[in-house]
């Protein structure tokens, strides 16, 4: 009997130690990756990174056109994707909460949410780049917008579902039309959560590379023409990191540091927004 107890206790201790080790292992990667990134990224960080264009091999330069390209592509993608996502989420939570369309859309949306992003790139290539005959910044933004939509749909629906029905009933009882009730009451109540959704979507697309490879392509120079190929940080990192030139590799690390810091800042802000909402 005593043997059995001892054996069970040993087994328990062993698993608990293993689970502790597993956690340390998981967190270790985060530390390792961020550590190397900070080390390599900071050593190449200088003012030139933000003021000069991407250089030809062998000379120095910066990432200005790539940073601007990324900002423009991301901004346009959010402008295109957010309204569609919010409206679709509104339908699912406000009008058709229990109808068939909503459950189908929810299922499809969840699949789009984790669909391989490179397939999205192929899709946009087929419907935009190929018919237009050239790569373009527009195609890149639309590809990113397709990734934004499912994220925003999901959070909008979730957040609107959390709004208490008594608020809606109160609005209806003073004769507010349904559309105004949604815009003035429900949106306002769910605002923090919906903003979080948009922030998460921005975090998601700001590091996306695969869908840009054959939509926005890349551009060595400054370009404000969205009808032409546009440079973006992730694609520049991809190209520079795989090149044999030391200067380019150093710039790739710096670019990687910029993206990671932006993404982490966005996710932490998004997280902070939702926690204050929960506490209030």
């Amino acid at each position: 009997m005593a043997n059995l107890y001892a054996a069970r206790r040993r087994k328990n201790t062993a698993t608990m130690v293993l689970s502790l080790a597993a956690t340390a292992f998981g967190l270790g990667w985060l530390v390792l990756i961020l550590g190397v990134l900070l080390w390599e990224g900071f050593s190449g960080l200088s003012l030139a990174v933000f003021t000069e264009m991407t250089p030809p091999p062998g000379s120095t330069g910066g990432l200005l056109n790539a940073i601007m390209g990324s900002l423009v592509l991301t901004g346009l993608a959010v402008l295109i994707g957010t309204p569609i996502g919010i409206l679709a989420g509104t339908y699912m939570a406000e009008y058709g909460r229990h109808d068939r369309l909503t459950s189908v859309v929810r299922f499809i949306n969840d699949i789009l949410l984790s669909a391989p992003s490179i397939v999205i790139g192929l899709f946009i290539y087929e419907v935009m780049v190929y018919p237009m005959g050239h790569f373009s910044g527009w195609a890149g933004s639309v590809a990113l917008a397709v990734i934004v939509i499912p994220v925003v749909v999901r959070t909008t629906e979730d957040m609107l579902t959390l709004v208490p029905d008594t608020l809606r009933e109160a609005a209806a009882s003073i004769g507010l039309p349904r559309s105004l009730m949604i815009i003035r009451i429900a949106y306002r109540a769910a605002k923090a959560g919906m903003v979080t959704g948009v922030l998460l979507a921005v975090a998601r697309i700001s590091g996306e590379t695969a869908p840009l490879l054959f939509t926005a392509l890349n551009n060595q120079f400054w370009s404000s023409n969205m009808n032409a190929p546009v440079a973006s940080l992730p694609v520049v990192i991809f190209q520079f990191a795989l090149s044999p030139y030391k200067d380019w590799q150093a710039l790739a690390w710096t670019g990687a540091l910029i993206i990671t810091m932006a993404v982490l800042a966005l996710s932490i802000t998004a997280r902070a927004l939702t926690t204050t909402r929960k506490q209030s």
Binding site: M16, I84, V105, L112, I118, E126, F238, I259, S267
Partner: protein, 338 residues
């Protein structure tokens, strides 16, 4: 003295009387406008919801149309051919499909047990005040863009493996009959194993956070009953928590698998992009997504492009079914808990 508010009300009432005649018309106009806005908004939201469906059908349709030339040329043989020769325009998907499955398998073999262990630690063992920070840190790992894993894998992880783990595996398994072919060849650093390990790090947070969520949803009374019987923590997890959450955990694993199958950038950096199937996991290989990322912009000729799109279609179909199964299972566990 009269309160200010009261006088306002009286004023409004007087005004109302004066403009009543005009108001009858404008009120019905205003109501009509509101009704119109209401209907328009309703249809607008509905159209946006339908748009989500259109995007998915658009993806499938465009991929099918784009891959028609390749389907016509190679037929079903595309799936079973290992050839990939842009010069003679002979293409087959066997090597990328094999690479995709092997790298994902390696990733899942490592990430599933570790992910479940971390989830167990977070729900059963970890002190309350530490749960949130650790959970957040693990989720931050999920937020790091895949290109970062790629550049890190290429410059840090692959050289590290080349010097440590890979020579170790070669010497340890070199003498054992079956395993020796699995770990044969020189340690390149980059290759199938490296890609699998990077994928493991990438899907770990997904599996962890979903398992933690479903573990957390187990009714405390069940666990308390088991503890009351004298079960150890491990026995509670093994015989109460895991059976109760099995569907959800499998759903989480499938979701991670879906990610691993479709992951592009991290793999492209470290897999080596070689179109061949080799028994050794140390050898360079390729995956569907890495092939597309590497070759699509350089593909010349309709057949080459079309073959790459067909690869994309195959990847999409595989991940679609994996993700659909994952969502189905997760919705089942949610129904049970909710």
């Amino acid at each position: 003295m009269q309160p200010a508010g009261r006088r306002d009300v009286v004023d409004l009432a007087l005004q109302g009387g004066a403009v009543r005649a005009r108001e009858a018309v404008s009120r019905s106009q205003a109501l009509a406008r509101l009704r119109l806005g209401d209907v328009a908004f309703r249809h607008l939201t509905r159209a946006a919801a339908v748009m989500v469906l259109l995007i998915l059908s658009g993806v499938i349709l465009s991929l099918v149309i784009g891959s028609l030339p390749a389907i016509r040329e190679f037929g079903l043989g595309f799936l079973f051919s290992e050839r990939w020769n842009p010069v003679t325009e002979k293409f087959g998907a066997m090597a990328p499909i094999y690479g995709t499955i092997v790298t994902s398998l390696i990733a899942m073999l490592i990430a599933v047990p570790i992910g479940l262990m971390i989830a167990m630690f977070l729900t059963e063992l970890c002190p309350q005040w530490l749960r949130r920070p650790i959970g957040t840190a693990i989720e931050l790992l999920a937020g790091i863009p895949s290109i970062i894993y790629g550049i890190w894998g290429l410059f840090v992880f692959a050289p590290f493996l080349q010097e440590t783990l890979q020579p170790f595996l070669i010497t340890v398994f070199g003498e054992i009959p079956v395993l020796s072919s699995l770990f044969a060849g020189p340690p390149y650093g980059i290759g199938t194993l490296t890609a699998g390990l990077i994928l493991a790090i990438m899907v770990l947070p997904f599996i962890t956070s979903i398992s933690r969520d479903v573990f957390d949803a187990v009714p405390p009374v069940l666990k308390e009953a088991a503890y009351g019987l004298g079960c150890t923590t491990w026995e509670v997890v093994r015989f109460v928590v895991l059976p109760y959450t099995r569907v959800g955990v499998i759903g989480g694993i499938m979701l991670g698998l879906g990610r691993a199958l479709g992951e592009t950038m991290a793999v492209t950096f470290v897999i080596g992009n070689a179109h061949r199937i080799s028994a050794s996991v140390l050898a360079p290989g390729t995956t569907i997504s890495a092939t597309i990322a590497n070759e699509f912009t350089e593909a010349v000729g309709d057949l080459y492009t079309s073959s790459l799109i067909l690869l994309g279609l195959i990847l999409f179909v595989i991940t679609f079914f994996v993700l659909a199964a994952a969502r189905y299972m997760l919705s089942r566990i949610n129904k049970r808990i909710g």
